[in-house]
């Protein structure tokens, strides 16, 4: 992997929780390169540090040591205000429990990242229309989150994460609260966006089926990188089987094909 094509580079990421006397090291020196247009999955047993790793990469959490460079900007050196701006402009997020604002309609939620101004309304509207169509939520634009199904909420959340055309989309267990059909729809849309529009995605999941949509899957164990799998030209089913095998070896929970 050449340095020039790399969109995200993380070097020797460590994260320690707890007191100085009793430190608990969650991330024990992780390295990662993500190229533009990749769809990277992060897997591993509970407590392996998946979510912490992603939160650190996504600048929501700070690393105890190590450096993270996203598209040429060293985010570990950024101050909080600058970091917020960077997050708002360059990164997108999807959370397990959607995190939509209950008092806003679906459309208002989606447009939230643009709400501080500085964009032509026409352009925003065009991007919105494209995403609303892509995620099949245009018909619920004026409804409130509590009127939407889980799948619709998560697709709204995904549209919100992409409205400002971020460099990287971070997704933390996006299918965790969805039924399998809604999950398949969402993942299909994400894969489509990744393939057709070149959106770079990082996704944490414990679900091998969800991870099988990725182009590459990292396996963490105990705060370290255990191994990684590339999908290459293989079918999703074959990739899924590989993932299952690694998971079996990892000794985490063994999943059954749903």
């Amino acid at each position: 992997m050449s340095q020039s094509k790399s969109l995200l580079t993380a070097r020797n990421i460590r994260k320690t929780f707890g007191t100085k006397k009793q430190p608990i090291e969650v991330l024990k020196g992780l390295d990662l390169n993500v190229e533009a247009g990749e769809f990277v999955g992060i897997m591993g047993p509970s407590g392996a540090g998946k979510t912490t790793f992603m939160n650190v990469l996504a600048t929501i959490d700070t690393a105890t040591s190590g450096s993270i460079v996203i598209d040429g900007s060293d985010v570990t050196a950024m101050r909080d205000k600058r970091l917020s701006e960077f997050r708002r402009k360059e990164l997108g997020f999807i959370f397990q429990d959607y995190n939509l604002l209950e008092t806003l309609t679906a459309k208002e939620n989606i447009l939230l990242p643009m709400s501080l101004g500085g964009h032509a309304k026409k352009d925003v509207e065009a991007t919105y229309a494209r995403l609303a169509n892509a995620f099949d939520i245009a018909h619920v634009a004026n409804q409130y989150p509590h009127e939407l199904s889980g799948g619709q909420k998560q697709r709204t959340s995904a549209a919100r994460a992409l409205i400002h055309e971020p460099k990287i989309l971070f997704a933390d267990e996006p299918t965790g609260a969805l039924d399998s059909k809604s999950a398949a729809v969402l993942l299909g849309k994400m894969e489509e966006l990744n393939r057709q529009n070149g959106v770079t995605i990082m996704m944490v999941s414990h679900d091998p089926l969800a991870s099988s949509y990725c182009s590459r899957v990292l396996f963490l164990q105990d705060g370290r990188l255990y191994t990684e799998l590339h999908r290459g030209g293989r079918s999703r089913q074959a990739f899924f089987n590989d993932i299952l095998n690694v998971q079996g070896v990892l000794g985490g929970t063994i999943h059954e094909v749903k």
């Binding site: 996504a58 708002r88 008092t103």
Partner: protein, 633 residues
């Protein structure tokens, strides 16, 4: 962990949420104790000549204070329970029985009440002397006041606190008993269901709210006619109902119109202010209506009391134009002569006049006293203009005309009004809202031109003997002499004097302004802190959203631009509506005030605004730190 330990930790953990409530409680207990002390104060009884009325006024004040405190404490408590539902659920989840949870909360409540009671009473003891001094200052008494302590006041405060304790304890038991675990865990989430009303209904109700308030305002300026009482009720009803609809529908409707126009492209500050406000106002409509309406009543009362206080002297002069007045009956007993003799002995300089009058049946055309209630005939007193003028009540009447003393409202120039007596017609040219003879002597008086007077005068008359003094000190001395003369005023032969009436008015309005002023401050502080608690509860409920927003890359500053705006509106809207109500309420009763009320109105409005501003600032400051804390977690 022992229960007592749990209680201790619990209270410490919640102290941030509680301290304002605690301060309010202390403040109210202090005021309550001071009011009770004054109610039973012997100093006041000795100093004030109309002590009975004053005792009653303080009793009323104490009663209202107790009512405000009761409502405030129970409302604040219920808000806290809403915030603490999850915590209470958690205790049960980890195996504490309901009984134990209740016991824990009761102990907590009791500790807080007891602390507030002790501190409040102590402060009350310290400050009661100060309040008494202030009171005497208002009453313009020159008195030295010692340390005040009254067992009765202490007892009365104890009774109130016991009542508060019982009510809140009952509230606690009810809350824990009534809610299942699941409900407790949902007690935050369930609060606000977002439901849109059908546009047509919203339009109609929204308009109805605005129209009802406007109609109430409009009618409030046109109440003075035969249907005064009905008008008042209609104004009250339409304004209160209108206010409720304005809070519940109209404001939300207007904001929604604006929001719809944005078509989803809400600015961030609006996303965090308009959108939540649209839903919050609806569920708070009843509380906000109560606050706006009661604030208006409070402000009107305070302004009224202030105006009465400053016009006490003028009012007494208008209703008691003669310093001392005797009638025929007193004259037969030799009272005026006795009084005159006493004044001469002390070398007081005075004017003495005899006013000749007679009473007669009179019929009217187009006549009312200013209340819009037509009067066709009655039995007034007739007096000649020159007699009155000589006695100090300046008036000039042309032949064929009449001037009426005793109007109820503003002085006016009637049109086409005629007064008929003894077959003669007089044109009524002026209605004065002052007394010709002292109030209590004859209030219903017509002045005629001298010739006309002589022409219609029957063969009977009654005379009034007046004494007026220039010098205030001499007048007060004369007042003492007046009360020394026989016959005894108790027998009802002698009338009340100008000096007596001035003093009485000053004292009554002084008490009124004192009580209304402090009750007003307590009331506005109570409503202000309720709005504040409400805001803090909302921040608590929205913590999840703030975390999300932080992850989406919004700073606390960004969030506060929206949250601050929402809170500003939340404080400003009831303030504005309250002020609007106050304005029209005062306008409709302006005729009662003989002084210009601009100054008191400005003072009360400023205090109202300042109190709310203080709570608003407190609210955004604490919201900022709560949000900062929430997004770090």
């Amino acid at each position: 962990m022992k229960l007592s330990e749990l209680v201790r930790r619990n209270m410490l953990a919640n102290i941030r949420q509680y301290y304002l409530y605690f301060f309010s409680l202390i403040f109210s207990v202090m005021l309550y104790f001071i009011f009770s002390t004054m109610q039973y104060s012997e100093v006041i009884t000795q100093a004030v000549s109309f002590a009975q009325g004053i005792g009653a006024s303080f009793r009323t004040g104490v009663f209202f204070l107790a009512a405000i405190m009761l409502v405030f404490v129970t409302y604040a408590k219920s808000l806290f329970f809403k915030r603490r539902g999850r915590e209470i659920g958690l205790y049960q989840l980890i195996g504490l029985s309901r009984g134990a949870v209740i016991r824990m909360l009761l102990i907590e409540n009791m500790i807080m009440m007891t602390l507030a009671a002790l501190v409040g009473t102590l402060l009350g003891l310290l400050f009661s002397r100060l309040f008494l001094l202030l009171f005497f200052e208002i009453m313009r008494f020159d008195m030295s006041v010692g340390f005040q302590f009254s067992t009765a006041a202490l007892l009365q405060t104890g009774v109130l606190l016991l009542l508060l304790l019982v009510v809140t304890s009952w509230q606690t038991i009810k809350f824990v008993r009534k809610h299942t675990l699941v409900q407790l865990f949902q007690s935050k989430a369930e609060t606000e269901q977002i439901r849109e009303i059908k546009p047509v209904r919203q339009l109609m109700m929204g308009l109805a709210g605005i129209l009802l308030v406007a109609f109430g305002y409009w009618l409030s300026g046109r109440m003075l006619n035969a249907m005064l009482l009905i008008n008042m009720l209609v104004v009250l009803f339409s304004t209160v109902l209108g206010t409720y609809l304005v809070f519940r529908v109209s404001i939300g409707w207007l904001l929604t119109l604006y929001r719809k126009q944005m078509d989803g492209h809400l600015q961030f500050k609006h996303a965090l202010s308009l959108a939540p406000l649209i839903h919050r106002l609806k569920s708070n409509a009843r509380m906000l209506t109560l606050i706006a309406t009661l604030s208006a009543i409070t402000l009107t009362l305070v302004t009224g009391a202030y105006s009465l206080y400053y016009s006490a002297e003028e009012e007494a002069d208008i209703l008691y134009p003669h310093d001392f007045i005797f009638d025929d009956m007193a004259n037969e007993l030799g009272a005026p002569a006795d009084f005159e003799q006493k004044m001469k002995e002390e070398n007081l300089s005075y004017d003495h006049h005899v006013i000749e009058t007679f009473s007669h049946d009179v019929t009217y055309q187009n006549f009312d006293q200013g209340l819009g209630i037509p009067i066709e005939s009655n039995h007034p007193t007739i007096v000649s203009a020159s007699d009155l003028s000589e006695a100090g009540v300046e008036v000039s009447v042309k032949p064929g005309e009449a001037v009426y003393f005793g109007g109820m409202v503003v002085p006016s120039m009637p049109e086409d009004t005629t007064v008929k007596l003894e077959g003669k017609s007089f044109e009524l040219v002026e209605i004065k809202n002052k007394a010709a003879l002292n109030y209590g002597v004859q209030f219903n008086v017509f002045a005629l031109n001298d010739e006309d007077y002589r022409a219609v005068k029957p063969d009977y008359n009654s005379n009034y003997f007046t004494f007026n003094l220039e010098d205030q000190a001499e007048r007060e001395r004369a007042n003492e002499l007046y009360h020394d003369i026989s016959p005894d005023p108790e027998e009802g032969v002698l009338y009340s004097t100008n000096v007596d009436e001035t003093l009485k008015r000053m004292e009554m309005s002084g008490v009124l302004i004192f009580i209304a002023g402090f009750l007003g401050i307590v009331f506005l502080s109570a409503t202000g802190s309720i709005l504040y608690f409400k805001q803090m509860t909302e921040v608590e409920e929205e913590k999840g959203s703030y975390r999300t927003l932080r992850q989406l890359g919004f700073t606390v500053g960004n969030m506060m631009s929206g949250v601050g705006r929402k809170q500003l509106l939340f404080f400003a809207i009831p303030l504005m509506i309250g002020l609007g109500h106050t304005y029209f309420a005062l306008k409709s009763i302006a005729f009662l005030f003989r002084t210009n009320i601009t100054v008191p109105v400005i003072i009360s409005i400023s205090i109202f605004t300042l109190i709310y501003l203080a709570f608003y600032i407190l609210s955004i400051t604490n919201s900022r730190s709560e949000i900062t804390r929430a997004i770090r977690a």
